[in-house]
């Protein structure tokens, strides 16, 4: 096995190896492209790979580093670090499809702010990762270009919607990956694939160039094999962007400097609602063990009551589809994207209707219809306005909880990875996000880190520990997560089988 594979799991070590010229960036990129070539036929995590562009950038960074042996940091925080990007974040090279026939072949003339920041920091984008169509789903099965597989068990889903990004980390395609969240789309696949995924506070990361799903909930989030790697990626992409009015005008703390410092007098809140009977017993057990790890680290464990937990999914499935129904109106076949071939006698309305019916898959159509209905005259008050009221209550409930604890602890998902096609009923799929949606609704931040392996007929399936913190308290969140990571060996144990 290549010496590079373990480096991809430890970005700090990878950076040191690159800076000290123990390993060439081109060598790293070649390794990644080789792994992708060998594995992606069955995993189908990437929709598009940019080997030439990646190698050119690798060469350029190698040359720059060779010229600046004295000051390797000049090449950027992520110099030479290979990254994959979810297929709903636009790049001015290749195509961006959002996993939809609607955008098959769509080439963006501009790059997202997060892409600009990544590349300024020296990262190398290897390719675009598969996702559920327009990020609507929790299994990466609704992608128009084929479902992505979980590297721990090819018959199972990787979670979603950022499934391709999570698999790219778990299967060793890249050191870091970008996904996006609207209700758990980074954390849930991170949990199901055994990697780390962060949902930053709403406004922490620019959404400019992230194809909108639910604008008031969407955030770009990092994946890595370790808390440190994810923190490094967050460091690079976080911060105010003049092109996104909803990005927070707040300074970004140095997440890396104090990452290994323990949170003084850490108080861990465990909501009673997160200890539900609906949880898989193996998940429940792993979470109780995690509680004990924190207790062992000297943390105070407090019980928290979050009675509104169960209202999260209903609230989310009003707000997100309502916003989506409007956000996706631009895909009308007029300026770009799929356009139906006109039939004789058809009028403008037919062009719209058929282009959209042909371009969008069933889940996207379902949510557009739901959202349109809920914003309609006579229903707005009963659904959308009511949902906004509940949203405020949920945010207040979170604010109260965070007066009593630094982080909320629970499972990221109620079960480990489920079989492909295992949740054909939309509602059962929606319930995958029961523990994650409220973070987005409240605008808080959260992380999923590996905390166990469930035995499933001889195969092992990862379990994710979910920590949430108050909005813009990523520093505490990351340090609390890092405490757990250091105190356990899950980071080493949870490595997906390589074939």
């Amino acid at each position: 096995m290549s010496a590079i594979a373990p480096l991809l799991r430890d970005v700090t070590a990878l950076r040191a190896a690159i800076a000290e010229r123990r390993v060439g960036v081109l060598e790293v990129v070649d390794h990644c492209i080789d792994v992708i070539g060998r594995r992606d036929g069955e995993l189908r995590a990437l929709r598009e790979v940019y080997p030439e562009r990646a190698r050119r950038r690798a060469d350029a960074i190698d040359a720059a580093l060779a010229g600046r042996r004295d000051d390797p940091s000049a090449a950027g925080l992520l110099a030479g670090v290979p990254v994959v990007v979810k297929d709903n974040i636009v790049t001015d090279y290749g195509t961006t499809t959002c996993g939809s026939r609607m955008l098959d072949g769509y080439a963006s003339p501009y790059s997202a702010t997060v892409i600009e920041r990544l590349e300024e920091a020296g990262a190398i984008v290897l390719g675009k990762a598969n996702c559920d169509e327009f990020a609507m789903g929790s299994s990466t099965e609704s992608c128009a270009f084929g479902a992505t597989r979980n590297p721990w068990d090819l018959s199972r889903v990787p979670g979603g919607s950022s499934g391709g990004s999570a698999v790219a980390i778990a299967a060793g395609y890249a050191a870091l990956a970008l996904g996006s969240e609207t209700g758990g789309s980074v954390r849930q696949p991170a949990a199901l694939c055994g990697v780390v995924g962060i949902k930053p506070s709403y406004g922490r990361v620019s959404r400019y160039g992230l194809v909108a799903f639910g604008s008031s909930l969407d955030q770009v989030g990092p994946f890595a094999h370790s808390v440190g790697g994810a923190a490094m990626l967050l460091q690079v992409i976080a911060g105010r962007d003049e092109r996104d009015s909803t990005s927070a005008d707040l300074g970004v703390p140095d997440y890396l400097q104090a990452l290994d410092d323990r949170v003084e007098s850490l108080v861990v809140g465990v909501p009673v609602q997160y200890r539900s009977d609906a949880n898989d017993p193996r998940v429940a057990q792993a979470i109780e063990q995690a509680v004990e790890v924190y207790r062992g680290l000297g943390a105070e464990i407090v019980e928290i009551d979050l009675p509104l937990t169960d209202y999260g999914i209903s609230t989310y499935y009003v707000i997100a589809p309502a916003e989506a129904s409007s956000n996706l109106a631009r895909f009308d076949g007029i300026r770009y994207g799929h356009r139906a071939v006109p039939e004789p006698g058809e009028v403008l309305e037919d062009l719209y209707a058929r282009s959209r019916a042909e371009g969008f898959g069933p889940e996207v159509q379902r949510r557009i219809m739901l959202g349109t209905y809920m914003l309609s005259a006579g229903y707005y008050e009963a659904y959308y306005r009511r949902a906004l009221q509940v949203r405020r209550l949920i945010a207040q409930e979170y604010a109260r909880a965070f007066e009593r604890c630094h982080v909320l602890l629970g499972p990221t998902a109620p079960t480990p990875a489920f079989p492909l096609g295992g949740k054909a009923d939309p509602l059962s799929m929606y319930l995958c996000d029961v523990y994650t949606v409220n973070t987005n609704i409240a605008g808080a931040c959260a992380i999923s880190i590996p905390c166990g392996l469930a035995d499933e007929g001889g195969r092992r399936l990862p379990i994710g520990l979910h920590l949430q913190a108050r909005p813009f308290d990523e520093s505490v969140l990351l340090r609390a997560a890092r405490m757990f990571e250091r105190a356990t060996d899950w980071s080493e144990l949870v490595v997906a089988p390589s074939a």
Binding site: V90, R207, S216, R243, S245, T246, R330, L375
Partner: protein
């Protein structure tokens, strides 16, 4: 047909009109992105689809960012219309599909507009002052344009979309239904255009669609038996000239009474309809009945933060508000004794009004102390004659002649002192438009200084009287008007430099 509304039973009718006005704001960049705005004078002739970026074209991932300048312009208009400026207003999405609407929604302000509850007074057609209530004024973005002609005018089979106008900031001003006749509506519309131009928020060029009007019209019919009937409200869309605005209202005033005679329909829920104006046939045409109106599914725009106006911003915008045309015209009448025509002419352009006032100030300053009213009249008359003539010739405004106000004052003083005559003053002003200089030096260099020495006058008068024996005879016979011909001749001989008063006296003396 029911007899209750038979034609002969109508005793009187009265019109009731409310007006919506769309004003394209001439910000340098669009409402929600930094791409140039087609309503700005620098970009009006941009080639189709050149004022487009990812936000305008609604590319995936693009996000709007509010243009502060547009908000401040909206506040300025709001203040000028006596509106309350909302400390907190927000953006909403108005959803509908159309090829000229790239996002599939228009960003607008639904329930919390930036300006609310104002009023303006206009001179009514009946001689009274009419107070027109302003219900609200809100900001939104314009749509693109659909066309069927290729550049050069060739016809194209399908539809062409030009997105240059998409995203231009629009201020939509909604009045109360306070108008009773087309004249008052047109007066208001003209005053509003004047006001907006004065504030510098639009060029107000109607041909370019900088302002569009949508009157809501109905008629209250009183019958002989003392009953009242209100006809269903009609909204006429997209009128872009004062002529069509007047035409549409006057046509509706007749059509609605006629329609009521025919079908007896009155105002009520679902009875509102939308009509367009046919400029050629000069009639309104039904576009749609409100029953099949769009459901726009308004909801708060999640990509933008609310607009918060603090005291500091409000004070800053208020501080930039100039004296408005109506007030300024009144002051010119009261302070300078100008007649309404003079006052209106000087207030037409803000720069001209400011130029005029600067000239008056200079004159008062040069003269030491004096009554402003006489100075104002002097300056006004001179600018509206000598000045307006040069401005017309050059296709510019008074201020656009770029003559320094101090020079105008110096020149008027020379004239008053009799150093130059009226014709010479006019000529010196003409030369000042060419190049700056001391008016006295210019007059001297060009032989325009008034001649008053007795010998020269005597010679000219003698020659002129010899040339007009009939006039001299008439004058002797008591026809004093005959003197004009002789004076004219002297002026010709002197090249306009003879002092007309002295010439007059000299002729009378000789006769």
């Amino acid at each position: 047909m029911p007899t209750t509304h038979a034609p002969q039973s109508i005793r009187s009718t009265s019109l009731r009109i409310g007006l919506e006005v769309h004003v394209e704001l001439a910000t340098r960049t669009k409402m929600f992105t930094r791409t140039p705005n087609v309503a700005h004078p620098d970009y009006f002739d941009a080639a189709p689809n050149t004022l487009v970026d990812p936000v305008v074209a609604a590319l995936p991932g693009a996000l709007p960012v509010m243009n502060r300048a547009a908000v401040e312009m909206a506040m300025m208009v709001g203040l000028a219309l006596g509106c309350e400026i909302a400390r907190f207003s927000k953006w909403d999405r108005k959803n509908y599909f159309y090829p000229d609407l790239p996002k599939g929604y228009q960003i607008s302000q639904y329930d919390l507009p930036i300006c609310g509850d104002g009023a303006v007074d206009i001179p009514g057609a009946d001689g009274s002052t009419k107070r027109i209530g302003i219900i609200r004024a809100h900001l939104e973005e314009d749509t693109g344009k659909l066309g069927h002609e290729l550049p050069g005018g060739r016809r194209y089979e399908g539809s062409l979309v030009d997105l240059n106008r998409a995203g231009t900031p629009l201020l939509e001003i909604v009045t109360a239904p306070d108008f009773g006749c087309a004249d008052d509506v047109v007066t208001f519309a003209q005053e509003l255009r004047h006001l907006c131009r004065f504030l510098g928020v639009t060029e107000g060029i109607m041909q370019r669609g900088h302002m569009r009007f949508e009157p809501n019209i109905n008629v209250v019919i009183r019958t002989e038996d003392g009953r009242e009937f209100a006809t269903p409200i009609v909204e006429v869309k997209n009128l872009n000239s004062f002529r069509s605005l007047r035409g549409a209202i006057e046509f509706e005033a007749r059509r609605q009474v006629e329609a009521w005679r025919q079908d007896g329909r009155t105002m009520g829920p679902g009875a509102k309809s939308t009509r367009g104006w046919d400029d050629v046939r000069e009639v309104t045409v039904l576009q749609r009945e409100k029953e099949d109106a769009h459901d726009y599914r308004y909801f708060p725009e999640p990509d933008l933060v609310p607009v918060v106006v603090d005291e500091e911003l409000l004070a800053a915008v208020r501080g930039r508000l100039p004296e408005l045309p109506i007030a300024r015209r009144a002051r010119y009448r009261d302070e300078f004794g100008l007649d309404p025509r003079e006052a209106s002419a000087l207030v037409e352009e803000r720069a001209d009004a400011e130029f005029f006032e600067a000239c008056v100030e200079s004159l008062i300053e040069l003269r030491g102390s004096s009554v402003p009213s006489s100075q104002g009249q002097l300056v006004a008359k001179f600018l509206l004659n000598a000045g307006a003539k040069r401005a017309n010739e050059r296709g510019t405004t008074l201020a656009g002649l770029l003559v320094a106000p101090r020079r105008v004052a110096e020149l008027l003083l020379l004239r008053e002192e009799g150093i130059v005559g009226p014709q010479a003053a006019d000529a010196v002003f003409g030369l000042l438009c060419e190049a700056d200089g001391d008016p006295r030096a210019i007059a001297e260099a060009n032989g325009l200084v008034q001649v008053r020495d007795d010998a020269s006058l005597d010679a000219w008068v003698t020659e002129a009287m010899a040339a007009h024996p009939k006039a001299v005879e008439d004058l002797r016979a008591g026809k004093s008007s005959a003197i004009g011909r002789i004076v004219g001749h002297v002026m010709k001989l002197s090249g306009g430099t003879a002092d007309a008063k002295a010439v007059d006296a000299k002729i009378r003396e000789k006769v």
